[in-house]
Point group: C2
Chain length 343, copies 2
DNA sequence: GTGAAAGCGCTAACAC
DNA sequence: GTGTTAGCGCTTTCAC
């Protein structure tokens, strides 16, 4: 019971422990613990008594001690890509915000881990040091080392984004439906000669977006002509080269697979004297602040990234609390119709 | 020594503890602990022996146990503003990245805390639950609750950004010098009729930027005329209203206090038929991807935000390791001269 | 319904 | 230079 040389500088904020509470109340640590956690049988009176004491003493259980006792940290890890380009888009930041808000509500905290390319040492340190109970991956690359490692260590995780591998718990927005709908919208405007400026066909999200685009054409009785889709245009140079040929064909509408492609295409069109929407309509499969503030504002698909993060966070915490891990969850979207597709 | 019902599902990954190591080596926990931490006297031979064992056994000390024993978490908290507008700028994300990279190198991890306005319950939970050893604030508001709380709890922290209160440990880029230099640059181009589109005069950063602007004018023998500076233009409407009057005066160059103002001003100018840099030059006191990708690209002040974060992270860890807390640190910048100020 | 006591895995004061 | 031992503050088994 003697405590060493700890009490020599007991401030007002002197550590009050569960033992302290127990003694003051004439109870045992066990009972107090049960009264707090709600596990085990405690008489209503006792429980009430403990609650009261806690209220006014401002006692807070030491989470580290609890962690040690139950082997849980109440922290979840979130990966953050370090790529320069991704650094500039607010997607991850917004995600992080959504995740944090959601898990905080359930008494978990978020610790971040930067992943540079396939270098996942940060993530490994986090799990090897027992700093987190689970993980949220914010994107997946081919043969993802982070994924492999988490699986091997049997750490629960969920992916924000899509994967063909449905054994990966994932949450993403419904790209397929969204892109189908926005494509249908421009078709509904009477536009027929559509060109899709597409990105990397290897990306899962590209596949889904393309599928939505194709589905819309099909249900309108059209087919994406061989030249209706131009892949590999995430590269600025490729885009620059492709645009002259594309415009030579006099398309009615340019559909851009993401906002980066859209923003570059718009710059090019502007420089080359094309007026939007007069000369050509433009729409993007991914909205961002840039799409809205552009002149003219661009029709685009808006997804609620905060919600995406929150959903992933809740799914993970569910899993950590013993519920079955989700398999796949698709979130909604909204079409922002703006001036760039005005008839 | 008997362990309860833990070993019943001992996988290959069975928990190896320091006791395990000690026994296997015929040493005591203490000695092993010392050999690992390097504290206290251990013979070179013993140290070597322990190192070897650790290498091949893959033993990793349990950080939670250490945390409990030494009352340190090896985590630092980072605040993240939740404002929608700030959500769209990559500043915080890049900061976070810089902080994380830096502190990871020193075996600390980063826990994020969302701050909505003056609601700092997230931050409070973090420190009350002993989840972090220190904090990094990524901005300061008037009478900042987070700051007040951290001070009261005597939690070490550092601010990314500036404050007049030099008792606040802070790291920021040198706005004064940067703005003075970029202003001098445009003056050197022979431009004389400058107008500064300024933001909120209450913000510390605005004051510093203005001071740099004014200093440049002064050393060129000029004075910012009463109408040379227009405050309060962070508000989109205010800007919209002010611009016509401003342009009536036929300024040579518009200096924008940040990239949001710059981007809005550019949109307006474009809409109203002004050509840049022919009709008017434009420069921004804050660079961003938008400034570079704009047509034409905009001259701006570039600061290394990653470095800002890293510097703050290191300063905080220094403090946590017992070094004196820094007082104030100013980082460099770079002027990006682009087409918008081409003579 | 309540309590005693044994952990969780590590550090550090103290003795040898 | 090394070992003994008593914590760190909580949970949980087992007995009453």
């Amino acid at each position: 019971m003697s405590n060493r040389l700890r009490n020599d500088k007991n401030k007002d904020k002197s550590k009050v422990t569960i033992l302290q509470v127990a003694q003051d109340l004439g109870l045992s640590k066990t009972t107090v613990s049960r009264a707090i956690s709600g596990k085990g049988r405690v008489s209503a009176a006792t429980r009430e008594q403990v609650q009261q004491y806690i209220e006014k003493s401002g006692y807070r259980p030491n989470l580290i001690a609890k962690s040690l006792a139950v082997s849980k940290t109440f922290n979840i890890g979130v990966s953050l890509p370090s790529d320069a380009e991704l650094n500039e888009i607010p997607f991850f930041q917004t995600c992080l915000y959504g995740i944090t808000e959601a898990v905080n509500l359930r008494d978990y905290d978020v610790v971040v881990s930067v992943i540079s390319g396939q270098d996942v040492t940060g993530l490994k340190r986090l799990v090897l040091n027992n700093k987190v109970d689970g993980f949220i991956l914010t994107r997946l690359v081919e043969n993802d080392s982070a994924l492999l490692f988490l699986r091997e260590m049997e750490i629960p995780f969920v992916l924000i984004g899509s994967s063909d591998d449905t054994s990966i718990p994932q949450v993403d927005s419904d790209h397929f439906s969204g892109c189908r709908e926005i494509t249908s919208h421009v078709l509904g405007l009477g536009l027929r000669r559509l060109t899709l400026l597409a990105g990397n066909p290897a990306h899962q999200v590209s596949k889904e977006r393309y599928a939505g685009f194709a589905a819309a054409l099909e249900s309108a009785g059209l087919k994406p002509g061989a030249d209706g889709v131009r892949w590999g245009l995430s590269d600025a140079k490729k885009l620059e080269e492709a645009l002259p040929e594309i415009m030579k064909e006099k398309p009615d509408c340019l559909l851009c697979m993401d906002d980066v492609i859209a923003s570059r295409a718009l710059t090019w069109l502007h420089r080359h004297g094309y007026e939007i929407p007069k000369d050509v309509k433009v729409a993007s499969f991914h909205d961002s602040a840039f799409m809205e503030s552009h002149t003219p504002p661009v029709t685009a698909l808006r997804i609620n990234v905060t919600e995406l993060g929150a959903s992933a966070g809740n799914a993970l915490v569910d899993a950590l609390e013993g519920k079955e891990l989700i398999e796949r969850r698709r979130l909604g979207y909204e079409i922002q119709i703006r001036e760039s597709t005005r008839p």
